[in-house]
Amino acid sequence: MTDTILPDAGPKDAEPAPAPAKGRSLWDDARRRLKRNPAAMISLYIVGVLVFLAAFGPMLWVHPVDEIFREQVGIAPTTTDMHWLGTDTEGRDLMARILFGLRISLLVGVAATAVALTIGVVWGAVAGFFGGVVDTVMMRVVDVLYAIPFIFFVIVLMTVVRTEDPISNLLLIFMAIGAVEWLTMARIVRGQTIALRRREFVEAARASGAGPFAIVFRHIVPNVLGPVLVFASLNIPVIILAESFLSFLGLGVQEPLTSLGSLISDGAANMVDAPWLLIAPAVTMLVTLMALNFLGDGLRDALDPKDR
């Protein structure tokens, strides 16, 4: 195809023209840079293991999460009967509880980030693309909300709205945390959108008759995904922490569900007699937070090398 455009491309019967140099997309570059960052790669594997444990651990582990061992209440870590991390004050296997708590914590992190991502991307893209009064009003709202210390609001919300059903309580946590974490996302997306909206490919889409919403969601949003992804990955540990904070205060997930935060809270209450109840979930929490943070940092360096 090139030789019809460029007259002095080689003769047709010669060797086939060398394939055009394989273009390296942003994502190829990013992957290469990520692979060269050992901390991020190790974190990636750790996150992989944690996700696997959260997804399948509770099914694979020998003890079910809700089984009560009446003869083995509050025993220290031991190999007998496979209580590798001991049992809690009610005789439940701690390993099973931690696997289950990890599942809930990661679930909250991902689900609430998804909520924040959706609101933030739509809000920011619409404000940035339409500009003018729409932009001013929408961003003013973000500014005002920014001034409000939102963790308190989540606390009030969790105090006031009480559901007896643990599942709807969990949904409430997703909503409450996700609904307060979208502000930064909206700002990032708006900035990126403003930078993109005068670009040629947007012009081309407009010329070919695409409506404003098609342009925003088919052309602009895919192009702002890099920074959004970085922010989302760094946001997951923040949300896990927020959920743990609520659970630690007794306002988060309810029994029979559990999360790393409520396990740490239980452990802190019994630390003198049963320190393992504190140490095991605390270590799990620290490993999770660190792996996610290092991975997010690595992603940022990989996708936005300027920022190093």
């Binding site: 009030v156 743990s244 320190p275």
Partner: protein, 309 residues
């Protein structure tokens, strides 16, 4: 500068009013009233009780009365402590929480700032990497995890420091050391990162090149010319830092058994003591908004470019 203060106040007051209104309606949307748990009262007495607390009025009127009382510093009666009102509970806990928060923020700014400058002046050398690695780890050590761990290690196991208990209005450094350190840890990490980045940028600026060209001694370049500029991001981080420390104090006061507002807040939240929860939320929101305002004004003082007429 006065213009700026007034301008910020014009924004801050409606924000605070919006917070109070939202929290108020949220609180009143809850099912059940505060007296539901009492044993069944005769209807006449219940009516008088509701009238006494103005709970029989429409919500908008209740909000009006609440704001009116609030303007006089009255946050209403507590619903768990029968003999105290919310203002009393808050003012009893305030000194402890205040000392805790101010010490943690001071520690974070001083130590974090120092570490950040050290790292920046040794950019890409071992000292820099060491500080940044510490900061990276520090961000992942929330009070929620480190509070109980510190208490277990230093208090219960090594018996180095008292791990629990502090009489009201009596402050002793050994009692406060662990709580303050726990609260400050993530903030130290964040401040040191901010300070490192801004110092590196400041040292590369034209102003510093000019100062070097004038032949000023290096310490004077750093202290007089680079640091005031480099400190700006840290100054603007003070608002979020305060929010972080206040939220952390809920956990820390509970873990270390300190008689501050945070612990009362948690007890109140668990007992559904709406008025107490409201009172603390309003107080802390006002503090944070005030802090943000202070930061904006301070910013104008430190950075002439940020002064707008």
């Amino acid at each position: 500068m006065l213009v700026q203060v007034v301008r910020r106040l014009i924004v801050a007051v409606p924000t605070l009013l919006a917070i109070i209104t939202a929290a108020f309606f949220l609180m009143h949307s809850a099912e059940g009233g505060p007296f539901d748990r009492e044993r069944q009262l005769p209807p006449e007495i219940e009516r008088r009780l509701l009238a006494e607390y103005k709970l029989d009025l429409p919500v908008e009127q209740q909000l009006g009365y609440y704001l009116l009382d609030l303007a006089q510093g009255d946050l209403g009666p507590s619903m768990t402590y029968k003999d105290k009102d919310v203002f009393q509970i808050i003012s009893e806990g305030f000194p402890t929480s205040f000392v805790l928060g101010v010490s943690a923020i001071t520690l974070a700014v001083l130590l974090g700032g120092l570490l950040g400058v050290m790292a920046a002046l040794r950019q890409n050398r071992p000292q820099d990497y060491a500080v940044m690695a510490l900061a990276m780890v520090g961000v992942c050590l929330p009070p929620l995890v480190m509070g109980p761990i510190f208490k277990l290690v230093f208090g219960e196991t090594l018996n180095l420091l008292p791990s629990v208990g502090l009489a009201r209005d009596q402050f002793s450094i050994p009692h406060l050391l662990l709580p303050v350190l726990t609260l400050a840890l993530p903030q130290i990490a964040i401040v040191s990162r901010l300070m490192r980045a801004s110092t590196i940028e400041a040292m590369r600026s034209n102003a510093i090149r000019t100062a070097r060209a004038k032949g000023l001694p290096e310490h004077e370049i750093i202290w007089r010319h680079a640091l005031p500029v480099a400190a700006l991001p840290v100054v603007s981080y003070l608002g979020p830092a305060l929010a972080g420390v206040l939220a952390g104090s809920f956990v820390i006061e509970t873990v270390f058994g300190l008689p501050g507002i945070g612990r009362q807040f948690i007890i109140g939240a668990l007992a559904r003591d709406y008025t107490l929860v409201m009172g603390v939320v309003i107080l802390y929101s006002a503090l944070i908004i005030f802090m943000n305002m202070l930061v904006d004004v301070l910013y104008g003082v430190l950075d002439p470019r940020a002064r707008t007429a």
